[in-house]
């Protein structure tokens, strides 16, 4: 590395500068702006200037509004629903597709397709499947003798309708990450466990899972970060309804800002969401560093 002298280091910093500058202007600055707005009464329907400084009023309003707290509950409920199913299904499918059998690499590839589809299209095709009276999903269920389910028109089912669409799109992510991790595991502990006469299930829980754990933890944090941001699928399927049964935090922010044009309140809610996401991101990076040192 002799060629990296002081002079070069300065040039490297110049290489780095545009990226930092652009990210600062396009991400950090809007966040600071959101922080600024959150202390103003900013009603776009009335006047297009930041109006009065209102102190913590917007924060006091959202933190005491049951609507906002409800949206936080729905967000975390949806996160718990999607993450748990994705974890179990994703690991299960990964165990299938890592078998050394013909056709498995092709199956792995085909299963990755949902991830690269626009979330709006995912929403639309599930809307097609759930559609009241016409949708195919209830038809398929009726073949299995299951009564029609009012997927998107019932407060009991709408959150599951959204969860299923998200599970369909992102289970492949857990499958892909787990399969890659499984293929890099060393074979020795397995051979030892097999010689000791353990059953397949014992080998899985005592040898495979402990080795997979750090990867699964990181994958789940990435899914949690994404689940916290979920927006498009809900926008297409239910727009937060029926009632407020699927109003997640991002729908709450959207409605405050663009339906009621109360941008100060929307910004305050945005700032709360930024704080939560910073916690999730920090935990994710901690989980990565832990496997590097482990």
């Amino acid at each position: 590395m002799a060629y990296i002298r002081k002079r070069n280091r300065r040039i490297f910093l110049i290489f780095l500068l545009p990226a930092i500058l652009v990210l600062f202007l396009t991400t950090i600055y809007p966040m600071i702006y959101a922080g600024y707005l959150s202390f103003r009464s900013y009603d776009l329907a009335k006047l297009f200037v930041p109006r009065v400084f209102v102190g913590w009023a917007n924060y006091r309003e959202i933190l005491s509004s049951s609507e906002f707290l409800h949206s936080l509950v729905v967000t975390f409920k949806l996160m718990a629903m999607t993450l748990s199913v994705q974890l179990v299904l994703g690991v299960g499918i990964a165990l299938l597709v890592v078998q050394k059998l013909p056709g498995m690499p092709l199956a792995r590839t085909l299963l990755m397709i949902p991830m690269m589809i626009s979330p709006v299209i995912v929403g639309l095709v599930w809307l097609f499947l759930y559609f009241p009276e016409l949708g195919y999903l209830n038809y398929f269920l009726s073949l299995a003798g299951i009564d029609a389910i009012p997927w998107i028109s019932s407060t009991n089912w709408a959150l599951w309708a959204i969860a299923i669409a998200d599970i369909w799109q992102w289970t492949p992510f857990v499958m892909m990450g787990t399969a890659a991790a499984l293929q890099s595991l060393s074979p020795e502990p397995y051979e030892a466990a097999m010689i000791d006469g353990n059953s397949r299930w014992d080998v899985f829980t005592r040898v495979t899972l402990p080795q997979l754990k750090p990867v699964l933890v990181s994958l789940m944090f990435l899914r949690a970060i994404d689940a916290f941001k979920i927006y498009d699928i809900i926008f297409v399927l239910t727009k937060g309804g029926p009632g407020d049964s699927t109003e997640v935090l991002s729908m709450f922010i959207y409605r405050q800002s663009f339906t009621f044009w109360r941008m100060g309140v929307g910004a305050a809610a945005s700032f709360v969401s930024l704080v939560i996401i910073v916690v999730l991101i920090t935990l994710f990076f901690k989980s990565l560093n832990r496997d590097q040192t482990a």
């Binding site: 590395m1 060629y3 990296i4 490297f12 910093l13 290489f15 780095l16 545009p18 990226a19 930092i20 652009v22 991400t27 600055y29 809007p30 966040m31 959101a34 707005l37 297009f48 299938l96 078998q99 059998l101 199956a107 590839t109 299963l111 990755m112 991830m115 690269m116 589809i117 626009s118 709006v120 299209i121 995912v122 639309l124 095709v125 599930w126 809307l127 499947l129 195919y136 038809y139 369909w168 492949p172 992510f173 892909m176 990450g177 890659a180 890099s184 074979p187 097999m194 990435l222 927006y231 498009d232 926008f235 991002s250 800002s257 941008m263 945005s270 969401s273 996401i277 991101i281 990565l288």
Partner: protein
């Protein structure tokens, strides 16, 4: 591992068959419905064999300027990709070569920039772009998408630059190449596959994006994802056109998976899987 018995092999293939049907059925539905005449769109049991019609595709381009919206999507996606690759690969090169204990923090800071919830910054963006007169222009979306694409490019390209042998760069330095020249003539060509992968990721992300496109564009700069959503209204849902538009939009992503699936792990798991 011990050999699988025939019975186990059959069970594995059966389970896999069910999984494949569940995960591919919606994609088949989009493709087949886009070619079905409207009267049999919801026919039960679903028609597997039918005379395909291209009427929905014709309507799509005749009734609304869908071609223009696709062009908008292309302009925005290509613009953001070019911008992000230029800035991102320079930064990635610096992060890969500077040996300093804080460099890891810089890399993580850049990566974290793509994890923030878009909805939290959409209000500031809306106001900033409105003030700057950039609402409903492709430039606004190019800028906004770069906030996700630059971190991704930095993250991916750093991995590729780390693999380029330093000895080659030292040899170039001995030959009298400057740093930028070494980067452009020696390092970057060796990391060309990384550039291709980053480009495709940036392109697909921008092509698929919906929230910002919905909020920050109107009739002029509207992209295909927003346009396809406009065929949905509470009184009449034009399923044929929705499916035809959806099929067109999902093509780039499907091609990407089928051709470069081995890079998906690296691009999506952000270092969770080594």
């Amino acid at each position: 591992m011990n050999k699988l018995s025939t019975r186990q092999t059959i069970l594995i293939y059966l389970a896999l068959g069910v999984v494949l049907i569940v995960f591919l059925m919606p994609i088949y539905l989009i493709a087949s419905s886009s070619l079905k005449p409207s009267p049999i769109m919801f026919q039960k049991p679903p028609a597997f064999l039918f005379a395909p019609t291209f009427e929905h595709y014709q309507d799509l381009f005749a009734m609304r300027p869908f071609g223009k919206f696709i062009l908008n999507s292309l302009i925005v996606a290509l613009g953001s990709t070019a911008f992000s690759l230029t800035i991102g690969s320079l930064a990635a090169y610096a992060i890969s070569r500077i040996r300093h204990k804080r460099m890891n923090d810089v890399a993580f800071w850049i990566l974290s920039m793509r994890m923030f919830p878009p909805i939290a910054v959409v209000v500031p963006y809306y106001i900033i772009f409105k003030t700057a007169g950039l609402l409903d222009t492709p430039l606004a979306l190019i800028i906004v998408y770069s906030t996700a694409n630059i971190p991704l490019t930095v993250w991916l390209m750093k991995g590729f630059f780390d693999e380029v042998p330093i000895a080659l760069e030292e040899a170039a330095a001995v030959d009298g190449y400057g740093l930028l020249e070494t980067f452009l003539r020696v390092t970057l060509p060796l990391a060309a596959p990384g550039l291709a992968v980053s480009a495709v990721f940036c392109f697909i992300f921008s092509w698929n994006e919906f929230l910002f496109a919905l909020m920050l564009t109107g009739s002029e700069a509207q992209t295909a994802t927003v346009a396809v959503m406009s065929f949905w209204s509470s009184d009449a849902v034009q399923w044929g056109r929705i499916m035809a538009g959806s099929f067109i939009i999902l093509i780039p992503g499907v091609i990407f998976v089928l051709t470069c699936q081995r890079w998906l792990v690296r691009g999506l798991t952000m270092g969770s899987v080594k």
